[in-house]
Each structure stands twice: as C-alpha cells, then as structure tokens.
C-alpha cells in the first residue's frame, strides 16, 4: 500500500515539532497524575496528558513514508534535526537529550529495518517492484542527518548515553565503513578532553563492541582495539568505584568476542595442529601486524588483571548475601570476569591465578568482596582443576596448622562426624589457626566459591576439605558452622548437579581442532547460536560415590547420633492433640541447656544443608505415587543411591519436632526453621 503523504507533510511535520517540544520536561520531573474531580474529568484529563509521556511515537511512521527522490521529506527532517540539535549541545543537556536520543535511535532502527526488509525481498525475487524501495540517495541524506546529530550526542552525559549507544550501534550495523572511522575519531578526541568522563564512553564502546569487532561487518574495528583497551586501563582506580565498573563492562563486552592468546601458547598450539607457523590464522590483506596485535592483547590482559587485583582491597563492593534456599547452581550472568578468563589462553590463566593466589595470601583482614567471588567463579568455569591446584594450598596454609596438643572434640556433632570419617586421623593432626571470627567466615565464603562448579576435582583434596569443615563445625561461634554448612552444600551441588562444562562464550574446546583454530580471528563476532554446543557435566560413578560418602558423613551420621542421644524413646506417633502440645511447649521452657541447643542447631543445620543439595536428584519413592511419564523421567534423572533419603528425613524430622516440643526446644527459631524447611523439601512442597 503506497499512500502519497506529500500533501500532508506540512501538517504532519508541524505537529511533530509540536509533539517533540511538548514532550520536553521543562518544569522539573515529568508530571504525575493530578487528582481529578469527577465533575471536570475531561479538562483535567487533557491537562494531565499534555505533560505526560516521554516517547515520541512518530518513529513508527517516518521511516516508512520515505520514497526515493522525496526531497521534501528530507528537508523537513533537516528542520526537525536543526531544532533538536539545540537541545543536544553539551552545554544545554538535560532530560530532553534522552528523549531526543531515544526518538532518533528508534527512527534509525526502523529505517534500517525497512532497508533490510527490502533488501531481503530483492534477493528473494529479483523482479520485485523496486519503485518505492529506499535508494542510495535516501541513505546518503539519512546518514548526513545522523552524523550531524552524533556530533553533539556522542558527548552526552551518562544518562543519555545508553540511547546514544543504541543509535550508534544500529548505524554501525548499517554503514560500518562510514560510521566506524567517524566514531573512532570522536572517541580519540574525547580521551584528550580535560572534562572527559570514561563512564559514558565505556558504555558506548561496550554497546558498540559487537558491530565494531564483528569481522564480517567491519574488518578494521579490531585494529583500534589495543589502543582503546590501554586508554581505558588508566581509568581503573581505587578512588572511583563507578568508573571501574563501567570500564569492566567495556572489557567484558570485548572479551566476549576477542580471544586473548599468549603468543607462545598460540605458536605451540599451531605447531601441535600442524598449521603453518607463519600464522595462517589471519586474512592476507590485513593492515596491521597481527603477531604484534596478539602480543599487545596479552600484555593488556596481564596489566589489567594485575592492576585490578592491586586495587581490589580498596573496592568496597560488598557481596550480596546468597539466598540460602538455592537448590541449584546459579551462574552469575553479570560476572564481568567470566569472558575475560575463559577467553584467555592456558598459560595466561596460570599467570592470573598466580597473581590472585598472592593477593589471597597477603590480604587476610579484608571484608568479603563481590569481585573475589566473580573472579573465582570465572576461573572455576574455565578450568576447575587448575584453580584448585593454585588456590586450595592458600586456604590450607591460611586455615590449618599442625596440632601440638592431643585432639579433643568441641561438641558432640564433631564426635559423630569423626566416628564416621575416613580421615579421622588426618583431622586430629590439624587444628584451625587462631583467626578472627570474621576472617574465618570470609575464608569459608571464598572456599564456598572455590568448590562451586568444580565437578569431581575436589576429590583430590577431600581430606583437607573435610579437616577444614569438621574443625569449623566445632568452632565456638555458630556463624562459622553456618558458613561451613554452606560449603558442604555447594560441594555436593557441584557434584550432583547437571550443568554445562564449557560455560564460556567462545567454546574454547573448539580451538583444539585445526579447522576452528584457523578461523579464530576471522570469525570474531559470528552469532553464538551456531557455535554453542554444550558439553554437559554428569556425575560419574566415582563422584556419586563421593557424594554418598559425604552425605553419610554430614547427614546420616548426625541423624544416627542425634537419634541415639535424644530420640531413643520417641515412637514417631503423636499421641497428644494440638492444644495439649501447646501447653507442653509452654511449660518446658526451663529444661533447655546451652550445649544441647548448640548441638541440635548445628546438627539440624548440616542435615538440612546436605539434603537441600541432594534432594533435586532424590526420588519420591514411598512418598508419592507418580504417573508413568513422571516415573520414566524419574528413572533417568534420579540417582538410585539417594532413593531412601526423603523418607529418612521425614521420619527423623517428625521425631525431632515431637522431641523438641516435649523438651522445650521448640522456641528456638533456628532449630525449628531447619526442621520445617527440611520437611517441606522432603515432601517437595517448594516445587509445587
């Protein structure tokens, strides 16, 4: 349907100008709904709507009404741009700049959408009527207008930069040869300005990283990369946390696309795959020295990591407390280091780990930091074996010391554990170093991150891990025991969960093949969907055996111990009615003892943590009758060794609740919370 809009241009553009200027907030924030009297609804409604809404929806119509040779349209658009430019000037920026940037980014997106649609039509059917299709002249006028706007918009404040970035991103996909050099010129100029702010620029570079580095789209974007990376490195400081976060965002976006090789690693890999040593991984007509480029990138990576670790103690990004009920492993999608570490070659990773291990050795009294958690998770996702090899000895040295006096258990839970432990002798040889409670909790929290996603590699360190955990459980502070329980839970989750082993954005395993390594720099930015082939981790027999041993140690032995000590005379059938139970509950307050309370709290906490980790793969045998389809799924998914876990937990919790009511422990919040949650998980209540 091709309607001739020319006769209406005057009224449309006049109204567009009115709409643009009327949507600018000129009196503080955008107006909120005004309370309205029923008698004067309509007048107030108009008054209310006049100041509301920050979106100029003309972007839907404008790009679709242009026809080839329609000069009047472009003249009118030029007038609109002229008016808008006044509001985009760096000296006159405000919320209106955001509105303009948003409007033009949507306009550009729809224009380009139309162009690609028409292009596709032409490719499918060469005889299609091209009379109304956009031509080169239209594109020229469009690009001229956009460049004029960008002259000012590129120097916008941080608030408008997200929209400007989207506009630039769209334009680079459309005309990379024209926009990219223009952008680099402006960015390099911006770095020289005294009032330059890295935050907006890093956001812009981060958003435009893909179209700029996607080699199929723009071949030369990669050439500017080392310069930009090094320039941004100067802005990582301990004094301004915000700046650092934005630079990290930019780096993460780049690392998602560009692999970082140590030159020696690459050479060795090429030789191994019998590829030519004169680097046939590049195109012939590249305009830069690629070996130098690889060298520069690896230097940058090391410089960045060293600098970041140096300022790490001063970055006070506190770790958000994990939600304890997490029953699965969660990969943090906002982790800025995941791409950086997994995109680096093996020997670079080793160097990072050395630097990081030194940091952990030297900085004892530091509060828990989100970045530490991110970095460890990134290392674990890339190569858990290497991470444990480098980092675990640090923990051993920091936490354990040889014992000089004979071992004596601190509480009965420790006794139960030692009776059933394979490494009881080893455990008795060591003791926890006299650390401050906070530091101990900090180390245990890092240990929790360290065992996350480690698959079965923790088996090599099982005696030391067990020693640390059992000693922590015996610590006089209950918080230390809680931190140890979280480590137990994470270790078991990492053993029995199903998750992809190659959670990196670049499928590093593919570089093991000659054909893939050859294209490593040619295919930068290629859509990920084609390349992703998850390599799933599924517990092997050995790992399940370890999980069962761990479960027996931290769950069954405690259940057995508590049952012997407290539940010997409890039958499991509740003979009293509710009102009697409430009376008993209120009368038995005085009978509780501190030591018993501590033991039961620790015991129930550990049982709950272990069960929470395993229940995802424990069947509902003897609890529910399931349909045949679910049963088929059960047979495949659930681990047979865990079949009786749910019932055992229900029996124990039932008796324990009864005992607690009769002995005055039901007023203890922690004990009852663990027992209630345990029961809920066992019957699958939280899944419903």
């Amino acid at each position: 349907m091709e309607i001739d809009w020319k006769p209406y241009y005057e009224i449309i553009f006049q109204n567009l100008l009115r709409l643009i200027t009327s949507t600018f907030p000129n009196k503080g924030p955008i107006l909120h709904p005004i309370a309205m009297e029923a008698s004067d609804k309509v007048n107030l409604m108009i008054q209310y709507n006049a100041g509301k809404g920050s979106d100029i929806n003309a972007h839907l119509w404008l790009p679709f009404c242009v026809k080839p040779g329609d000069k009047l349209f472009w003249t009118n658009m030029e007038r609109i741009v002229n008016v808008c430019m006044v509001y985009c000037h760096p000296e006159n920026q405000g919320r209106w700049t955001q509105i303009i940037a948003l409007f033009f980014s949507k306009f550009a997106r729809n224009y380009i959408k139309r162009y690609f649609k028409e292009k596709k039509k032409e490719e499918e059917d060469p005889l299609v009527n091209k009379e109304f299709h956009l031509d080169e002249e239209c594109h020229k006028s469009f690009m001229t207008l956009m460049k004029r706007l960008l002259n000012f918009l590129l120097f916008s404040r941080l608030e408008s930069m997200a929209y400007v970035s989207k506009l630039v991103q769209t334009l680079i996909y459309f005309r990379p040869e024209e926009i990219a050099p223009f952008l680099f010129e402006k960015v390099n100029y911006a770095f020289t300005l005294p009032e330059f702010s890295i935050m907006g620029m890093a956001l812009l570079l981060g958003y435009t990283a893909h179209p700029m580095l996607w080699r199929q789209n723009y071949n030369k974007g990669l050439y500017e990369l080392p310069n930009l990376l090094f320039q941004a490195l100067d802005h990582i400081t301990s004094s301004d946390r915000q700046k650092t976060i934005f630079v990290l965002f930019f780096y993460a976006k780049v690392c998602e696309l560009v692999p970082i090789f140590d030159p020696e690693d690459l050479e060795a890999q090429l030789k191994k795959l019998q590829l030519e040593p004169n680097l046939e991984i590049f195109n012939e007509n590249e305009e830069i020295n690629f070996p130098l480029f690889i060298d520069q990138l690896s230097n940058w990576a090391l410089d960045f990591f060293t600098k970041f670790v140096q300022i790490l103690p001063f970055l006070d990004e506190k770790k958000i407390k994990d939600i304890p009920s997490a029953r699965g492993l969660v990969i943090d999608p906002a982790n800025y280091f995941a791409a950086f570490v997994s995109g680096s070659s093996h020997s670079l990773q080793k160097r990072y780990l050395e630097i990081f291990a030194n940091y952990l050795l030297e900085n004892v009294e530091k509060t828990l930091n989100l970045y530490v958690s991110w970095i460890i998770q990134a290392f674990n996702l890339a190569d858990p074996e290497l991470t444990l090899k480098y980092l675990f000895p640090v923990f051993k040295e920091k936490l354990l010391a040889k014992r000089h006096v004979p071992f004596q258990a601190k509480n009965s839970i420790q006794n139960y554990l030692l009776e059933n432990s394979k490494h009881a002798a080893h455990i008795k040889e060591y003791e926890l170093k006299a650390l401050h409670k906070e530091n101990l909790i900090w180390y245990l929290a890092i240990l929790k991150d360290l065992v996350k996603f480690t698959r079965g590699y923790t088996l090599d360190y099982e005696n030391d891990i067990e020693t640390i955990l059992i000693h922590s459980i015996g610590h006089s502070e209950i918080e230390v025991c809680e931190a140890a329980a979280e480590v137990v839970q994470m270790l078991l989750l990492s053993l029995v969960s199903v998750y992809p082993k190659n959670v990196s954005c670049m499928n590093r395993n593919q570089w093991q093949e000659a054909a893939n390594l050859k294209d490593v720099y040619r295919t930068i930015g290629k859509p990920a969907k084609e390349g992703v082939d998850p390599d799933w981790y599924q517990s092997t027999f050995k790992e399940i055996e370890y999980a069962v041993y761990f479960a027996n140690l931290f769950k069954d032995s405690i259940i057995q111990g508590l049952s012997q000590d407290y539940l010997a005379n409890v039958s499991g059938i509740w003979s009293e009615d509710l009102s009697t139970l409430i009376d008993i509950m209120n009368l038995n307050l005085q009978e509780t003892t501190y030591q018993k309370k501590q033991d039961i709290t620790r015991g129930t906490l550990l049982i709950y943590s272990v069960f929470q980790a395993l229940c995802q793969r424990a069947s509902y045998k003897d609890i529910y009758e399931l349909s045949s389809t679910t049963k088929e799924f059960e047979d495949n998914f659930f681990i047979k060794e865990f079949d009786d876990y749910r019932l055992a937990i229900i029996v124990f919790a039932n008796k324990m609740v009864y005992w607690c009511i009769h002995n005055g422990y039901s007023h203890d919040e922690k004990i009852m919370r663990h027992l209630c949650k345990m029961l809920a998980s066992a019957v699958g209540e939280d899944e419903q």
Binding site: M1, N15, V42, D533, F637
Partner: protein
C-alpha cells in the same frame, strides 16, 4: 526418551536436542493427547462446559502452548470457542475476565488467519459492558477494571480480523461523536485508536479516502498529546502495523478510565 536415535529429532524445541540425553523427552505424543483431551471436552458439550472453559481449559491450553508448541489449527479452534463464549453466551464479568485472559494468551503474537470477527458485536460489547447506560443484571455492578485492560489487549490483537465494511461504520460513529463535545471527541479518538486498521489486501485508495478527514481532525486546535494517537494511526497505514504499542495501551486505558470514571470515583 533415553536413546541416541532421538537426539536432534524433536521438532518442538531447538534447545531440547542440546540437553543431556537423559533429559530429552519425546513430547510429540503428549501434546497430541493433551489437545485431544481439550477437544473432546468441548465437543461432548457437557452441562458444566462453561465451568470447564473458565477453570480448566485455559490451563490446559497454556500447558499446550508453552510446553509443547500449539499448532495453528489447534489455536484457531480454541480461540473460536473462547470468542463464542465471550460474545454470544451470557457470562458474568468474572467469567469474561478469565476467558479474555486465556484468549489473549492463546492468540499470543500469532495471526489466527481463518477466523473472522463481527466488528459490530465487538463494538456493542465495548459499549454495553464498559460504557453501560443501565445496570445489567447478569454482569451486576461488578468491578470491571481488570477485564477492561484485557479487552483492550484483545482489541489490539484482533483488529485485522474484521470485515472490510467495518471502517465505514467506524467513521460513521466517529463523525457523530467528534464534534459533539470534548469528552465525546476523546472517546471518538480512542475508538479510532482501537479499531482503525490497515490491511495489505486492500488498496491504498480505500484508505486514502479517509485521510483528508483524519488530517482535518488533526488540524483542529487540540491537545498536543493527541498527536501520539494520530501518529500511531498514520504509522499503521504506512507499515500495516497492527500492533498497538504498549505505551499507547496504557494511554488508552487512562483515557477510557477518565471517560467511564474509575471505580473509586463512581
């Protein structure tokens, strides 16, 4: 199915072949069984069918749509039943609300090509349920705010299902209202926003005859915020864009509320 043969053969979800083998299931049979169950429930026409349509079938349809990917024929059949119950059967506002919700999610973003909708019926429904001049004993004085929002969403999804003549009838109503008073003008514009559509099967000439009228309304000294409505209307003509932008839905809801009065001010 825990077999190598099944790897990559599932046509329903491109991700499933990438799961570990023991998590892959053959869901083709299950989808068919579920649809047959829904169909037989409707076709046998039991006395409590309305209850089933309100309480049971929407959930089954949701599972069918989300878990197994519903086919176009199945979608059209379920949608036609829902439409029948909304416009032709006497149902309460609560039932209409539930069915509208299910209807919107069943249509989703897909086009139900083989259905046709009587524009008059939809318009009368809007007038009678949301702008009532008398108390309807079936609907009662029930609060209909939720239902109204869902109905607007429904309108934006089905606008292009009306017959060709609906534009003529629509403009007749608009002409009658637009110059009467300010509230009537707002209502007329809101009706245009709800029902005006562009269909690529019709020639540009068919729409061009309404353009002078449309631009005449626009040239009147009216509130600048109405510009958004007109830009949306002409964008539909330029792009065949049948979607109502989300912001405009909210904008329209506000306009409508102010016309019919919110439940708290009535």
């Amino acid at each position: 199915m825990n077999s190598n043969e099944n790897k990559g053969s599932n046509p329903f979800d491109p991700l499933i072949p990438k799961y570990p083998l023991f998590l892959q299931q053959n869901i083709e049979k299950e989808a068919e069984e579920l649809y047959n169950e829904i169909q037989s429930q409707i076709l046998t026409n039991p006395p409590d069918l309305l209850e089933k349509i309100v309480w049971e079938i929407p959930y089954k349809a949701r599972i069918l749509r989300k878990r197994y990917k519903i086919t176009q024929e199945q979608r059209e059949f379920i949608v036609s039943v829902f439409l029948n119950y909304i416009f032709d059967k006497p149902t309460s506002i609560f039932e209409k609300n539930a069915i509208l919700r299910a209807l919107n999610s069943t249509i989703g973003r897909k086009k139900v090509k083989n259905l046709r909708l009587n524009w008059r019926k939809v318009y009368h429904f809007l007038e009678e349920v949301f702008f009532p001049t008398h108390v309807d004993f079936i609907l009662g004085r029930a609060r209909n705010s939720n239902c109204f929002e869902k109905f607007l969403e429904f309108l934006s999804k089905v606008r292009w299902l009306y017959e060709e003549s609906h534009l003529e009838e629509l403009f007749l109503i608009v002409r009658q209202n637009i110059s009467v008073s300010e509230p009537a003008r707002v209502k007329a514009l809101a009706l245009l926003l709800c029902f005006f559509t562009a269909h690529k099967d019709y020639s540009s000439g068919y729409y061009e005859k309404y353009l002078p009228e449309l631009f005449e309304y626009w040239s009147w000294r009216i509130n600048p915020s109405y510009d958004k409505i007109f830009f949306d209307l002409i964008a539909r003509l330029a792009t065949y864009n049948i979607k109502l932008s989300i912001e405009l839905i909210f904008f329209l809801i506000e306009i409508m509320w102010k016309l019919i009065g919110s439940p708290t001010t009535r």
